[in-house]
């Protein structure tokens, strides 16, 4: 069971819930909406919709049928967001959908997306673990595969017109199928308020849960790596989020008074076992989520720079990822040579930015990945971490390929590899250029 723990309410994976996104300036958008929709109208035969089963994507589903008059294929993915997916099938059927895809992508997600990214120690702007960013390319990829299978000529997503996700989805679509047509309802339709949305839903027989009638305090996005919160109640960056918002972790204050210590085993940069128990990637990450969430680990509150040009405030819970990052740095610290390790560090911000901006399926991300993966060949061993009230502390690391050699690093006799006298020559040559410069620039 891939429990993600401490969950109260989980958003769909492919749509931001939350309502205030509904008010683009109608006056500005009107004509282009008409243009765009009408430009493609009648030209689209079949569209694959990233469908969560929730209110917003249900409205989109209906709107596609109405506006585009085309056949809709729904695709609902389990990326570990913690929702039941079968209700989505029932809803889609009720709306007349013939081709319904519901896929459990959790293992793929963790193995082929999350783990490669953690091999790079990726953090955007020094802190963000890219939990939302890394899920979008997989959803997009599967949508395109389905489009090919069912002969659809278009795809559609439920991301708003102000965020990064629209870019991540669409850049991925285009990279994987350059001739695909893309429908982005939030940038197109004329529904310009939550009231209009709900009215549209009711008019079209789409059930509106009570909880969706008012203004949502924030939008959320969840998957096996993280859950994010943004918007409305979080808009003032001087105001801390309410404790009641969090769903995947207890606060450090509420976490147990006793530390938990675990051992994580790595092979070629990937975690493969906890406390000696081998686990599949998704199972392992779910286990780390449980452990981290229980110990108040992985909350972060930040203001980030969106690719579309504005700053945005986001709060994230990434319990397992936070442990994993620390542990991975730990195993790297004894198995990676300085040259490869510093090269990775220098390139990490660029790699993280590529993922954040939606360029997972770009040749430069792929080239960087080959470099990163090359450095992980001997990144094998075990790290012991202590989890305690929000802290992840490394308390031990060992590896058959350890480069930390007691004989060298200690002050003991080193058996010949290191001779203190060598340091004198080393320093002299390191300083030579600076001495020359000092003389030259003083003389003149």
């Amino acid at each position: 069971m891939l429990a993600t723990g401490h969950r109260k309410a989980i958003a769909g994976s492919a749509v931001k819930t939350g309502s205030s996104a509904l008010r683009p300036r109608a006056s500005q958008r009107c004509s282009s909406v008409v243009t765009n929709a009408s430009a493609l109208k009648g030209k689209i035969k079949k569209v694959v919709l990233a469908y969560s089963g929730g209110l917003d994507t249900s409205i989109i589903l209906k709107w596609l049928q109405d506006e585009y008059g085309c056949e809709v294929v729904t695709f609902t993915a389990d990326l570990g967001q913690g929702e039941e997916l079968e209700p989505a099938r029932a809803k889609a059927e009720k709306m007349g959908i013939k081709q319904i895809y519901i896929d459990d992508l959790r293992e793929t997600f963790v193995k082929d997306y999350v783990f490669p990214m953690f091999r790079a120690n990726a953090q955007y702007e020094g802190l963000y673990l890219l939990g939302t960013s890394i899920a979008r390319p997989l959803i997009a990829k599967r949508q395109i595969e389905i489009a090919k299978e069912v002969g659809a000529d278009a795809v559609c997503h439920g991301a708003t017109g102000k965020g990064n996700d629209q870019v991540r989805f669409e850049v991925s679509y285009y990279a994987l199928k350059p001739d695909i047509k893309v429908i982005a309802p939030w940038r197109e339709w004329t529904l310009s308020s939550r009231t209009e949305m709900i009215q549209y839903a009711e008019t079209n027989g789409i059930p509106v849960p009570a909880s969706k009638r008012g203004e949502a305090p924030y939008s959320m996005d969840a998957n096996l790596l993280h859950i994010s919160y943004e918007g409305n109640a979080l808009e003032d960056p001087w105001v801390a989020p309410s404790e009641s918002m969090f769903t995947r972790s207890v606060s450090p204050e509420q976490a147990p008074d006793k530390p938990t210590e675990i051992e994580i085993e790595f092979e070629k940069g990937n975690p493969v076992a906890i406390d000696g128990v081998k686990m599949s990637p998704a199972t392992l990450l779910a286990k780390l989520n449980q452990l981290g969430g229980d110990n108040g680990i992985g909350r972060i509150d930040l203001v980030e720079s969106r690719f579309v040009g504005m700053k945005s405030r986001g709060v994230y819970e990434t319990p397992g990822g936070t442990i994993l990052l620390m542990a991975h740095r730990g195993i790297e610290s004894i198995t990676l040579d300085r040259g490869e390790s510093h090269l990775k560090d220098d390139l990490m911000p660029r790699y993280a930015e590529l993922i954040y901006n939606g360029f997972w399926f770009s040749p430069e991300r792929e080239a960087l990945q080959t470099l990163i993966d090359k450095t992980q060949e001997y990144c094998t061993g075990t790290v012991r971490v202590k989890l305690y009230k929000g802290n992840v502390s490394i308390t031990g690391r060992k590896s058959p390929y350890s480069l930390y050699d007691k004989m060298i690093a200690s002050f003991e006799d080193d058996g010949g590899l290191y001779n203190q006298a060598d340091a004198g020559g080393f320093i002299k040559l390191q300083a030579l250029r600076l001495r020359t410069m000092g003389i030259s620039r003083k003389q003149a």
Copy 2:
């Protein structure tokens, strides 16, 4: 008072205490020792020694007098290591020293070394806050100044022959005075065990404290930014350090059950006030040390890659610095433009490596510093942080120059700067090269 709190025993600033450093392979070193010492012997008239007043530098002092037969000038610096300095004067006088320099460099240290480095968010290998690395250039600089004042032709430090500090000292010396002569006793002398050291001390009337007679469990280095531990008891990276080792912080477990919340005010990237109280740089850092130490903040245990080529295990306490880094990232998150912020992130590892390797006084570090400082012109505002059992959490940030604009980042009407329809064009052009590539590489 610049208390650094929670201190039990503090090492001198310019020498690593600890004894096993005393056993270079005599067979290998012998001849070069003789060579080197004899090469300069009789050629040196006056040497400025970085003198802590402790056992090791007292032995060095005597050894210089004996081996080099030259006049010794002692220089003892207060960098906030938490030791009384006046005993050093008495000891030096007793050993016949005529020119004794004792300088309080705490404000200079924090203002001109620590703060510039924190403006860069520097972390070596992702974690280490460079507490030792940043102190060496200042000590070296002052030694060279004194050498010029007193007409000395040589300088001498107490760093061992296996570490980074010898490089940091000597590269700095040479950069600042290319023709200076450098004496590095640990690479030169024939004292090859702690027993021989103590024997040498006793023979020469240097008092040996009881605590120094046995093997020290680890060597330490302390200043206002941090305290470090390495060697002996820490050599096995699979074994966690003993709780009794730590001197500057309580453990998270022992920290108060109630969080402490403070507000840190920044001007142009530097912290200038805590909770509205303006403080000098050193006072402010000491205050952060106190707050951090009390709350179990800033311990780190890592294996790092030394510049001289081997891996080394170090444990550090940096309570104030850990808070400062987080807070600085917080104020940057709302005041730095994405372009400058990502540029800084990309260059940070290189900047940190330069400092770690001892190249503070290099033209490339200085060029990077101008770049970093340029980005800090508007890095002004206030950050609220919560300190709790090892955790530093940002709970608020505000600035007169905030780039986070509610009107833009929220989903509300934005008054014109952001138009959702623009995103469509933005994405299309971002994806164009990937679409072209997809078509081209498939066709062929």
Copy 3:
């Protein structure tokens, strides 16, 4: 006189001539054109137009008067494109313009834009000297200054909708005056062919030169740094350009059979004299253009990656710039320390990309510039170059700050700074990590 030599026909600075740019797909653009124009129509009171006096910007001038019904202020800049500017005044007056700005910006252009860029050795994609890119920010800056002076609320440029220049102009406008309104006629109007353009001109009494009636073989852009050609006749990258196209240089084949040798003097990274004769920046660059053009220097033919997403073929003549780059590298080679020089080399592609993409007025370009300028403090001395049939060869360099020290670099006795024995220790420590790795990875 700032002659640029070998010129046959020179395009205006702020508009690409050439005709095929006139055929955007009407069907796609129609509605958004209407939208955009009508959205601002009636809302703009006064616009500052970058006006070359040529056919295209004259049509734009008239179109602005007709479509926007606003007052137009013309701005014509001399950036060394080699055209008479006074005819532009007469034309503007004839079209009823009251406020006409004609500025000689050549010295500013070279001193504050070209030279800073050459201090960085900037080349986009390894080869392109950024001749067009660097001119756009200055034109934009002056337009915004004029807008402020005359109280205009909008600016307008004549760059097409497929190129980089639209980005360079508009990003600069917005950076300098965030609330400015921007009119980009080529993306807006419904003129969809050269025939329609000419018809529009004739209908409105705008004189159409005979040479503009047919399809132009390529579009051009010229200023004191370079002249560029692209489009139409150059579209097939397998076909070399016709010799008759070039205007600023003879071909290497036609250049003199005897080499020309000159000495260029630099101060802080900027050229200040040729053969001992001090010159102003623009005069000096014009002189280098003459010398380079006479000797067949500075032609380049390449396919580049545009910021807007497609590849584009461009042919450039940059005679003086080509000499300057080589000479600057020459003076740097003896005056820059390795550390600063390699740092610059590492950052150059990023700096060049920023300029190419239009981000001259971005904080990251400015931060990089401070870094670059810091490295040029001692970049002073003289370089001798030989010019011969397309070749620029350095034949000598000297400087009062030279870091090339005969005593060190030669195999002679070095007086102490370099001791061969030091190399042994240097190498041993450089190799230590690799030896450790070799042992570790083999063992396991």
Copy 4:
């Protein structure tokens, strides 16, 4: 036949000829020489010497026999330096050598060292094509292989104690066989002048050619990629080299008055054919050398920053490499996506520096190589270059994977991939952060 053309006198591959290298300061070195030699004396059983057959390595051979009293195995490599190798066998036999290795490594050299490096467009300090740097790792690798085959415990090279080559050899040795013993005679022996060297040779029956009796005007190093000159006559960087020095190319002035045009075919980034004729790597490079040398191509005169800390003046002839670099950039310009191409450009200086410094066999060079090679998968097609009196001009490029799409880059109707209206949105979002900044920083 792998002719390298225009050759007059060619130096051995593993030793710098030239004589002034013979004068390290005896006084400084004496003791360490004694130390080092004696430390290993009696401990070495068999050494593999990189033996060119020339005077210097013959002296080394004898010196090894005398000083170390160990068995010497000679290894002579053909890397295309243009010398007969069989005389080396005769000389070695005469000196009593039992195990003599003479290997033709030309194909390996070009295929596995030169071509990978050219896939990266590597240039050190903007200009140097790394001709010497790239040969050293191969020689070292083969030496280590032979050492393993013959059971030798040491290797020996003939590089001097002031240059980069000693580092390149020794770092490679240690990386490939961490426990190897290294003998560097130039840093060890007491021969401190050319006179002493010649005396030693004559005393020991080593023939001294007349040309070696006087002071050589410069030292040289040659292989199939380049020939280098440095030292003595070249020491003053203000004085151009004599025309008589060059051996592999005519001067541009002496080159034919008619251009030569050739087509070079690439597969995955490697040249595979010239004018439709498929060739092996070494054959192809030799052919390019002939073509380049005939047309006065590939001379460069520069001052470079050595890894050991000083500046050095070098003159190089790299005729084929100069053509290859330009042609490779040409094929990349139409086949590499902007993302991968700019990533490569950003990393190139670092990659080049690694090779220059001798870190070919480092994990970071290997990781970078995987990245570079990944980008070359579609780097296939044909480039036409014109060679004329020192100039290499691209006159055409084509590829089945071309990303240059007439339909997009031209101003013609583009069939939908590019819509001019998209540029408006693209620019708006690109400028958004700068507008926000402009507002924010002005307000405050």
